[in-house]
Symmetry: C2
Subunit: 300 residues, 2 copies
């Protein structure tokens, strides 16, 4: 299970009750927060995202609409008595900013904040169920995207068959990875008789704020769900590019060229009250496009 | 005219749709922002407070619930094309934090941000219509209160009388300050015939976060409206004091001893869903008490 809940879909200035960027990637076991614009902790309350399930936070870059809500979330977690450590993945200087803000408040977090500076395109988290890689994107300042890849699922054990062949539970790990069962009298029971396949692992790519950049294509090739920013409609392509942002058509072009399954558009400029035209424009290039709407959950 | 609009009335963690501390003091001509917790810019939109009317911002202290929304507001003002300067009055280190956050974003404000570090109890703004003084309060870290005093109003010129006695407009400044009018043939027309008195100047004191502290009494003596924090109900007096906060009863006691006209309670702990008991408790000591409710405007 891999799903993305949008907490903020707006760029720069909050507008039309849209909030700056934040989203939560959820697996069956935990939640990963990507970016944390101002008001993210309130949006988490609004949409029933439990901060206790978040152990890893990823900050793409240090424009305020992607991290001004972080210090508030971290201190609120502390005030709520959190004990579990938080892993924070972000550009290195953020550590200095957080430490300074804690210091001037004479504040101490009751949990360990483990800082992982983003430096190279590499695997930054290799968990039981998921692998997360960061990749650089082209923006006005240092900026990172994140690629979530579920680990290949173990095969599912079929309880009725297990009983029938009297397989001991000590054998389950071997069954999960596809091995056959050898009985005491040396009969071979094929794995396919004891287990079934599960759906293939899913992938999600978050491209943060970026220019139209064909170097992205290889980095996000064939993902199941691609979040690509689309700050402006295509009529404002020149303005978009001058600010190192993309348009709806550009986002859709990347999605098409990368052969992704589905495209999620976000980071909309405050100049647009209605967002429908973003989808209409993108669909002319790449049909399976959706708008990232606050409070909505997109299952990968 | 002096009025206070509450944008955030909660302490520490946002809760029950209450926001961290922020309020706007309005005169006929401009607005003054006091404290700026996370989400203040959204609250300003919600309650139709125009940021273009704000030229002065006062930050009482550097606990996050009083300033984490400031950098977002300042950058949004910049992104909206603001040109007029902003005067910021705050503990000195805040300048470093803001500069660092702008620097890592490669951001430049298109207006001048003039920083006034708070150092002594003194007049920090002497405007055409108002005088603002800061005074220290006792909290866990350096913390400041602010006293707003309207300037004595000029007398109001009565147009019908002006016509009747044919007073030239060059004489108005003298009439405003109470002088009589001398006609060309040397008759004395008493000022009272030409002008009328207006209501006396008003005073408002904001006490930020503070322990129960009788040294406050002299600083806020006889003000028309006193905002005093009341983080906890009186049953939690020991807890309140250990955290350098006050209770409802303590706030009311200060109001009574200082002989103020009206008390406004705020900075409620996130542990309380209903706020009514704060008023009930305070009224047992000082009757003219109101709760600072978000979106409400309290005319001084």
């Amino acid at each position: 299970m891999l799903a993305v809940t949008i907490l903020g879909n707006n760029s720069a200035i909050p507008a039309f009750n849209r909030h700056p960027t934040a989203q939560v990637v959820q697996t069956a076991e935990q939640s990963f927060l990507i970016d944390c614009g101002e008001g993210t902790q309130m949006q988490m309350m609004e949409y029933k995202i439990r901060s206790s399930k978040i152990n890893h936070i990823f900050i793409s870059h240090l424009h305020g609409d992607h991290y001004f809500g972080l210090i508030g979330l971290l201190t609120s977690m502390g005030l709520s008595g959190r004990k579990n450590e938080i892993h924070l993945y972000a550009p290195e200087i953020l550590k200095t900013i957080i430490e300074l803000q804690l210091e001037v408040a004479s504040a101490h977090l009751p949990y360990q904040l483990i800082f992982h500076p983003l430096k190279n395109e590499e695997i930054i988290l290799d968990d039981k169920k998921i692998i997360i890689k960061c990749f650089s994107v082209k923006h006005r300042i240092e900026c990172w995207g994140f690629l979530f890849t579920e680990k290949k699922y173990a095969r599912k054990i079929e309880i009725e068959q297990i009983k029938k062949y009297n397989v001991p539970s000590t054998y389950f790990d071997k069954l999960h990875i596809g091995e056959d069962f050898i009985t005491e009298d040396n009969r071979v029971i094929k794995n396919e008789l004891l287990t079934s396949a599960v759906s293939p692992p899913k992938t999600y790519a978050y491209c943060a704020d970026t220019l139209y950049d064909e170097e992205l294509i290889d980095k996000i090739k064939n993902v199941d769900l691609l979040y690509h920013e689309s700050t402006y409609l295509h009529a404002l392509q020149v303005k978009a590019n001058s600010r190192f942002h993309s348009t709806s058509i550009e986002a859709a072009t990347i999605a098409k060229k990368a052969g992704v399954k589905k495209l999620l558009l976000g980071h909309f400029s405050s100049m647009y009250e209605s967002l429908e035209a973003f989808k209409t424009e993108a669909c002319t290039v790449f049909e399976n496009t959706e708008l990232a709407l606050e409070g909505s959950c997109y299952t990968v």
